[in-house]
Amino acid sequence: MLAAAAMLPLAAVSGCDGVDVLAAPPSPARDVTVLREAITAEQLLITWYTAVLRDARNAGSSAGLTAVLEPLLAEHRQHLSQLKSRLVIPAGSAASPSPTRRAATPAEPGAGSAGVAFLRDAEQAAAAAMMDRLRSAPGSLAQLYASISASEATHVPVLDAAAAGTTSRVTG
């Protein structure tokens, strides 16, 4: 009983009008949480692309792979920029996103063909996740998710071709 009483908010005990001041901040709206997840997902893709490109350069055989990956990385950076522009943070809220779900994939994509295969799977998963997000999003945000999902879907055949050492239908 003592422990429970000690946990009561001060305002409730004192009976003053300070409940709103002392109450926990409201949870972010569902669409804000989903947008932050989308931002985190794009940041993760950018991290993975950067790692594969770095490994390719370190291996000294980067010319072909760099030419394939850099344009895709640039598009992810555009995705991230556009997603961030849609995030309106109310005054008094934490500026940084709260921890969100991460894909159940290894943190390091690996080098060479393994890295490309990793990116290919990551793109496919990212495109599917964006499709999931648009179901309950506000209209204009749903359109952005759909467009980004489509862009990421077009990256898959490019990476398939890169992994196979051929020219894709997309890049042909």
């Binding site: 556009q82 849609r86 499709m131 359109q143 952005l144 759909a146 999902s149 489509a150 862009s151 890049t171």
Partner: protein, 156 residues
């Protein structure tokens, strides 16, 4: 959608816009294919059929959306650019796909989850076809520069 339920506001307009884009694509791919040969012509034929299937699906969706009469195809369409060779034919295909993707994004903004998903799937299909003809990918298939420059605040 039930045949008896009134469609949500904007549904018929967005479906008609997508249908109009599909009609134009079906016509346009006829021109595209005429300037191609071999595997490129086969690709154009595949894409042409895909647009015919999508057109038929949209017409069915419109009929079930309160019995709306689907927009008819025009007898002919003015091409957005001259087409005199295979390169220009591929460029026309890109324009057709971009316009189709933009029209389907109109469905994605609707409240019906089923229509949203269909619209998004079609944006994706169109983006894949456009990337093939363009020879590269783009960051925002179907979204206009105006839409990207002035995003609406989702949480005000």
């Amino acid at each position: 959608m039930s045949s008896h339920a009134a469609p949500a506001p904007g549904t018929v307009t967005a479906l008609q816009a997508a249908l109009a884009a599909e009609h134009a694509a079906v016509y346009g791919y006829g021109v595209v294919g005429a300037y191609l040969s071999g595997s490129e012509q086969a690709t154009a034929t595949t894409d042409w059929v895909a647009h015919q299937v999508a057109r038929d699906r949209l017409e069915a969706m419109l009929r079930s959306a309160g019995g709306s009469q689907p927009t008819a195809a025009a007898v002919a369409y003015q091409l957005p650019m001259p087409v005199r060779n295979a390169r220009e034919a591929a460029a026309l295909a890109v324009v057709l796909e971009d316009r189709v993707a933009t029209a389907y994004l109109g469905l994605v903004a609707l409240s019906s989850t089923a229509i949203r998903e269909y619209g998004a799937q079609q944006v994706q299909a169109s983006a894949l076809r456009a990337a093939t003809w363009r020879g590269s990918t783009v960051a925002f298939p179907g979204l206009t520069s105006a839409a990207l420059a002035a995003p609406r605040r989702p949480h005000s």
